[in-house]
C-alpha cells in the first residue's frame, strides 16, 4: 500500500490482533517461576504505623516491604514524597504498605485478611474545601504559582468598574476507566529485572526502577505490553506498580505479577483533580470585561505526583481562548488525605475550560448578549499575546470553524424551535450550548528541551524493512499506525514494510513519554526527519541506522519562576455545539446532537482522528453531566463501572465532526496534537446547553440529575 494523501486511512497495525482477541495483554501472560502479588493497603486516611503483624506464611509465600527496597523508599516522579511501601506514615486509604507474594491468589487473598496493621490515627483532611480552610498549615500547599497583571492595577480598575462579579466554580473527580485495568509483571533473571506491563511512559518507569533498585543501567529493562487504554492513568501510576513488582522479584528471586481488578483499580489509582475555581471580574455598564482575576485550587490528594505540572496547565488555560484585558491568575495544589490525583487527558485544562466557559456564559447573560456572540468579542487572533506573554504565532481558524457550525447546525433556527418546544412541553426542555477551546501541544514550557530531549532511531534491514525504535506507547490511540505512515510516506515505502514493535528500553532510545499530545507532533516530526536522512543515505542490501535528536524552535523563552514566555510551541483548536433535552421530572439529560469542528494542523489518519474525536468528546461530555465519583471520609464510593456511569452507546449520539487543515511547520506533514483537545470542549458545551434548556445557571460539573432536580426545586421555591 502506498500513500497519496497522508490522511487517507489504512488498516491499523494492531487491528487483527485486537479484533480477533488474540493479542495477549499483561494479565494473559504466564512465565516460568511466576508468583502473584497482592497489596496490603492502609485502611486509615492519615496516621502513623505502629506495628505490622503478619500471619504465619505457608511455604512459598513471602511478605515484601520497605526494608526490601535496595534504593530509597520513594517512587521517582518529581518530588520524593511518595513511598513505594509506606512504613512510617500513611497518607490515604489504599496506600500500599506491604506486598504478599505466592503462587495461589486464593491463598493470598485469605492471608491478606489476616495481616494486622496497627495505625495511630491522626486528623485527616478529607476534602478540598477543608484543605482550603487549612491552607496556611504546614504541608497543605504542595505547589503554587501566580502571574499576570499586577494586583494594584487590577484593584484600581475594579475601583472604577460598574460592577464586580464573583463566581465560585467546582469540578469533580473523573476516573479514566481504561478498558484494561492496571497490570505489571517483573520477570526475574540473575542479571536483570525485566518489567512488562500496561504503560504510557517506559523511561519514567525505567528511571523509577533505577532509583528503587539502586542498580546499573543494564540491570533493568522495561517492555510495554499491549495497552488497553491509558488516558493519562498509565502515565505516572504504573511507576509505583513497577517498583512493587521489581522490588518483590528481586527479594524473592521469582517473577512477580501484580494485576488489579476493576474495583481495586477504581479505588486506588489516580483520578482527575477535583478543582475549585474562583472568578472575580470587573465589568463596565454594558457588561464588557475590564479585568478578570482567577484563583484555582486543585485537590492533589496525598502525594504531589505530577500535580504541580497539572496546575501549570490549568493556569495557562485559565483565560480560555480569550484575550481578556488585565488578567491575573494564581493557583494552588493542596494536599488532602485521599487517593493521589494525577494525569488525565487534558491535564488541568478541562477544569479551566469548564470554568472559564461557564463564567463567560454567565457574564453574557448579564450583558444580555447571546453567549456565543459575547465570547467571540474576546476571541484571540493570530499575533495576540498569550496570558503568559507568549504569542499566538500561527493562523487561528476558530472564526471559520464557528461560522461553519452555525450553518451546519442551523443554530438560530434551532434556538427558536427549542423556545417554542419548551413553551409547549411541560416535562421536557431542550437547549443548545457551545464551547470554544484550544490545547497547547507538547510539554509545558521548555520541558521538551530541558527534560525530555527526545531521541528517535530508525533501523533498516538488508531486505529493506524499516523499524521504528522509539519509547512511545500505543495505548489504543493508534501511533503504531500513524507513526509508521509518516515514515513509510517519507521513505516512499509500502506501509507494510515499516514496522513498529512494542518498545523495549533495551533497544529503543528515550523518545519521551506518551503524554501531552506530543507524540505525533514531536516524535512524529523527529521520525520524519530521521526518514529523510535515511532516504538520503539509503543503500540497498545493507543494514543501516539513523538517529535524530530534538531541536528546539526558538520562541519567547519560558520562565517557570515568572510564569512568562511561550508555554507551548503550538496550539490545536476546537468548537463544540451540543443540543440536548432535559427531563424536568427526573433531571435526566438526553443528548440529541453533538457537533465538533477541530483544527489539528494536518490529520495523519482520518479514521484514527475520528476515533479520537468520538472517544474524547464522549469522555468530555460525560465529565460534564454523567460520570460522578465521590469520596467520603477518604474512601472512593463508586467501585464499579455501573455505579460510576461512563457513557454507553445508548448515551452518546453520532458525533458530527469536521477537521480543518492548517499545517504547522514543525509538525510532520503539518500535524499538531489531537488526543487531549477532543475532550476539552465537551463539559462546557453540555453545561451551556442544560442552562439554555432550563434558563438557569450552574456553578459546578458534573451537572447530574441530582443537581438539576435540586436546582429546579430551588427555582420553584423562588417563584413561589
Amino acid at each position: 500500500m502506498s500513500l497519496k494523501d497522508i490522511s487517507t486511512s489504512v488498516p491499523k497495525k494492531d487491528h487483527s490482533g485486537k479484533v480477533s482477541g488474540q493479542l495477549p495483554y499483561i494479565s494473559d501472560v504466564k512465565v516460568e517461576n511466576m508468583v502473584y502479588g497482592v497489596l496490603v493497603r492502609s485502611q486509615v486516611a492519615y496516621g502513623k504505623i505502629i506495628s505490622i503483624q503478619l500471619p504465619n506464611l505457608p511455604e512459598g509465600y513471602e511478605a515484601v516491604g520497605a526494608e526490601d527496597i535496595p534504593g530509597p523508599n520513594f517512587v521517582k516522579i518529581i518530588k520524593e514524597d511518595q513511598p513505594i511501601f509506606a512504613n512510617e506514615w500513611v497518607n490515604y486509604i489504599g496506600e500500599p504498605i506491604l506486598m504478599l507474594v505466592g503462587k495461589d491468589l486464593n491463598i493470598l487473598y485469605s492471608l491478606l485478611k489476616e495481616v494486622k496493621v496497627i495505625i495511630e490515627e491522626h486528623q485527616a483532611i478529607y476534602t478540598l474545601d477543608e484543605a482550603i480552610k487549612q491552607k496556611s498549615a504546614a504541608g497543605v500547599i504542595m505547589a503554587s504559582y501566580e502571574f499576570g497583571e499586577s494586583l494594584e492595577t487590577v484593584s484600581a480598575i475594579e475601583q472604577g468598574a460598574h460592577q464586580i462579579i464573583e463566581e465560585e466554580y467546582d469540578t469533580g473527580y473523573q476516573e479514566h476507566v481504561y478498558l484494561e485495568p492496571q497490570g505489571m509483571l517483573a520477570i526475574y533473571k540473575d542479571d536483570e529485572i525485566e518489567v512488562q506491563g500496561s504503560m504510557q511512559c517506559l523511561y519514567y518507569i525505567k528511571n523509577a526502577l533505577l532509583s528503587a533498585l539502586a542498580c546499573g543501567d543494564d540491570e533493568v529493562r522495561v517492555v510495554q505490553s499491549p495497552t488497553g487504554g491509558g488516558f493519562g492513568g498509565k502515565e505516572e501510576f504504573p511507576s509505583m506498580m513497577a517498583c512493587h513488582v521489581a522490588v518483590a522479584a528481586r527479594a524473592v528471586k521469582k517473577s512477580v505479577m501484580l494485576v488489579f481488578d476493576r474495583s481495586e483499580d477504581m479505588v486506588v489509582t489516580t483520578k482527575r483533580h477535583p478543582a475549585k475555581l474562583n472568578y472575580r471580574t470587573a465589568l463596565d455598564k454594558v457588561g464588557n470585561i475590564l479585568s478578570l482575576s482567577v484563583e484555582i485550587f486543585l485537590d492533589g490528594g496525598a502525594n504531589v505526583g505530577l500535580s504541580s505540572v497539572v496546575l501549570q496547565r490549568a493556569l495557562i488555560n485559565s483565560a480560555g481562548v480569550y484575550k481578556i484585558p488585565h488578567f491575573h491568575a494564581k493557583g494552588y495544589v493542596l494536599k488532602t488525605n485521599t487517593v493521589p490525583n494525577g494525569a488525565f487527558r487534558g491535564f488541568g485544562a478541562p477544569q479551566s475550560f469548564a470554568g472559564i466557559e461557564s463564567h463567560l456564559g454567565h457574564l453574557s447573560k448579564l450583558a444580555n448578549i447571546e453567549p456565543l456572540e459575547y465570547k467571540r468579542k474576546y476571541l484571540v487572533k493570530q499575533g495576540d499575546p498569550t496570558i503568559t506573554k507568549g504569542i499566538f504565532r500561527d493562523p487561528i481558524l476558530v472564526e471559520d470553524m464557528i461560522e461553519d457550525l452555525l450553518k451546519t447546525s442551523e443554530y438560530k433556527k434551532k434556538k427558536q424551535e427549542f423556545q417554542r418546544f419548551n413553551q409547549q412541553n411541560l416535562r421536557y426542555k431542550k437547549g443548545i450550548g457551545t464551547s470554544l477551546f484550544l490545547h497547547g501541544c507538547g510539554f509545558t514550557g521548555s520541558g521538551e528541551r530541558d527534560h525530555i530531549k527526545a531521541t528517535v532511531k530508525l533501523v533498516k534491514s538488508k531486505d529493506g524493512i524499516v523499524m521504528l525504535k522509539i519509547s512511545n506507547s500505543d495505548m489504543g490511540q493508534g501511533i503504531l499506525t500513524t507513526l509508521c505512515k509518516i515514515v513509510a510516506k517519507e521513505l516512499d515505502l509500502p506501509y507494510e514494510d515499516v514496522l513498529y514493535p512494542y518498545p523495549d528500553t533495551k533497544v529503543v532510545p528515550d523518545s519521551g513519554p506518551t503524554v501531552a499530545s506530543r507524540t505525533t507532533m514531536i516524535v512524529g516530526k523527529l521520525l520524519e526527519r530521521a526518514a529523510k536522512k535515511l532516504k538520503a543515505q539509503w543503500q540497498s542490501g545493507v543494514d543501516q541506522e539513523v538517529v535524530e535528536h530534538y531541536v528546539h524552535r526558538e520562541m519567547i523563552p519560558w520562565d517557570e519562576k515568572t510564569f512568562t514566555g511561550d508555554a507551548y510551541p503550538a496550539y490545536s483548536w476546537g468548537v463544540n455545539f451540543v443540543e440536548l433535552e432535559v427531563d424536568t421530572l427526573t433531571g435526566n439529560v438526553k443528548l440529541e446532537k453533538v457537533y465538533g469542528n477541530y483544527e489539528v494542523g494536518k490529520v495523519i489518519d482520518d479514521r484514527i482522528m475520528k476515533g479520537q474525536i468520538d472517544g474524547g468528546l464522549a469522555q468530555g461530555l460525560a465529565y460534564g453531566y454523567l460520570e460522578k465519583m465521590t469520596s467520603k471520609q477518604g474512601k472512593i464510593q463508586q467501585k464499579s463501572i455501573s455505579d460510576y456511569g461512563p457513557p454507553t452507546s445508548l448515551d452518546v449520539v453520532p458525533i458530527e465532526s469536521k477537521v480543518f487543515d492548517n499545517p504547522y511547520a514543525d509538525g510532520p506533514y503539518g500535524a499538531k496534537g489531537a488526543g487531549e483537545l477532543t475532550l476539552i470542549g465537551g463539559a462546557p458545551a453540555v453545561q451551556a446547553a442544560i442552562e439554555d434548556a432550563l434558563h438557569t445557571t450552574f456553578q459546578q460539573i458534573p451537572i447530574t440529575p441530582e443537581v438539576i432536580i435540586e436546582s429546579l426545586w430551588m427555582k420553584e421555591g423562588e417563584e413561589g
Binding site: G587, G645, I709
Partner: protein, 290 residues
C-alpha cells in the same frame, strides 16, 4: 491447600431437579447474572459458593409462555431476550425489559431470577407489582400460588422453601381491555445501570371514571412501595383528577416513601423524583389503553 469442589447439578427434567432440591439445599442458578456477581471472590479466583449449585436455565418446563383465560403465564426461566420477542408479552413489560442492563445480560437474565434476587432496585418489580403478579411455586409435594408482594419480604429475602422452584409468573387479567400502564426507570445512564428510582402506574377508566388504579415504586425502600389504601381512595373519581385529589395522593406517598443515600444517589433525589413521576401520572388529561 486444595479446596473442595462445589457440587453442581444439571438435570434434564424439572422433576429430577425438584427431587434433588427436596434432598439437598442448593443455590438455584437460572441466568446467573446476579449469582455470578454476588459470589465474586477476587480476580483470578473461582466463585466461592456457599451451597451446591443447581442449574435450571435449560429446563423447557420453565420456559413456556401461554394464555389461560385472560391471564398470561410466563415461565420463570424465560430470558429477557425471549420475552422481548414473544407476542403475548404486554408492551409495557417489554418496555421495562428494554431498560435492563444490555443485550448480553438480557440473553442470560430471566424474569424469575429478577424476582428471586429480590433486589430493592429490581427492574421489572414495580411493574409486576402493579400487575398484581402471582407466583406459582412448585415442589415435589405440589404447587402453591403466592402474591408477589407476599413472596418478596426484603432485600434478597423471599418466601421460598428449600424444595421449591419458582415455576411461573402469572399476570392476572392482563388481557382485559382498557388499562393504561406506565413504567419509568431512572438510572444514571441509559444501559447497564442500576435503578435510582423505578415507577409503575396502572389505571383503568370507564367513561372518565377510575375503575382501578395502582402504583408501585422501586429503589426507594427495602422492597417495592405500594399502598392499596391510597389506591382505593381514587377509585370512582373522574378524570382529569382534581388538584386536591392529586395533592392528597402525593402527600400519602410522601409519608411512606423513605429512601436512602448511597453511592448511586441521594434520598432527597429519589423521593422528589418518585413523587414527580407520580404527580405527572396523576395529572394526565387522558389515559389511552396500551
Amino acid at each position: 491447600m486444595v479446596e473442595k469442589m462445589t457440587a453442581t447439578y444439571r438435570f434434564d427434567r424439572l422433576e429430577q431437579t425438584l427431587s434433588q432440591l427436596n434432598r439437598e439445599d442448593c443455590l438455584i442458578m437460572a441466568g446467573g447474572t446476579d449469582i455470578m456477581v454476588l459470589h465474586k471472590s477476587g480476580r483470578g479466583v473461582p466463585l466461592k459458593l456457599p451451597k451446591p449449585l443447581i442449574f435450571i436455565d435449560h429446563l423447557s418446563e420453565l420456559k413456556q409462555v401461554f394464555q389461560n383465560h385472560k391471564d398470561i403465564h410466563i415461565g420463570a426461566c424465560c430470558t429477557y431476550s425471549e420475552l422481548l420477542e414473544h407476542p403475548l408479552i404486554p408492551v409495557s413489560l417489554k418496555n421495562a425489559i428494554k431498560t435492563i442492563a444490555a443485550p448480553a445480560i438480557r440473553n442470560r437474565g430471566t424474569l424469575g431470577g429478577n424476582i428471586c434476587n429480590a433486589s430493592p432496585a429490581g427492574d421489572t418489580l414495580p411493574l409486576l407489582y402493579v400487575y398484581n403478579a402471582k407466583l406459582l411455586l412448585r415442589s415435589v409435594t405440589g404447587d402453591r400460588i403466592v402474591e408477589i408482594s407476599d413472596f418478596i419480604q426484603g432485600p434478597r429475602r423471599v418466601q421460598r422453601y428449600q424444595n421449591e422452584i419458582l415455576a411461573e409468573i402469572i399476570l392476572p387479567s392482563v388481557l382485559e381491555e382498557g388499562a393504561y400502564v406506565v413504567f419509568e426507570k431512572v438510572g444514571n445512564r441509559n444501559a447497564d445501570a442500576i435503578a435510582k428510582v423505578g415507577f409503575a402506574g396502572y389505571i383503568r377508566i370507564n367513561e372518565a371514571r377510575i375503575e382501578d388504579v395502582r402504583f408501585a415504586f422501586g429503589a426507594v425502600g427495602p422492597t417495592m412501595v405500594r399502598s392499596i389504601d391510597i389506591e382505593r381512595k381514587l377509585v370512582g373519581k373522574t378524570i382529569p383528577l382534581a388538584d386536591a385529589d392529586i395533592v392528597q395522593v402525593v402527600a400519602g406517598f410522601d409519608k411512606i416513601i423513605r429512601p436512602i443515600d448511597d453511592q448511586r444517589s441521594t434520598a432527597t433525589y429519589r423521593k422528589t423524583v418518585a413523587l414527580n413521576l407520580l404527580r405527572y401520572f396523576l395529572s394526565m388529561k387522558q389515559y389511552q389503553a396500551n
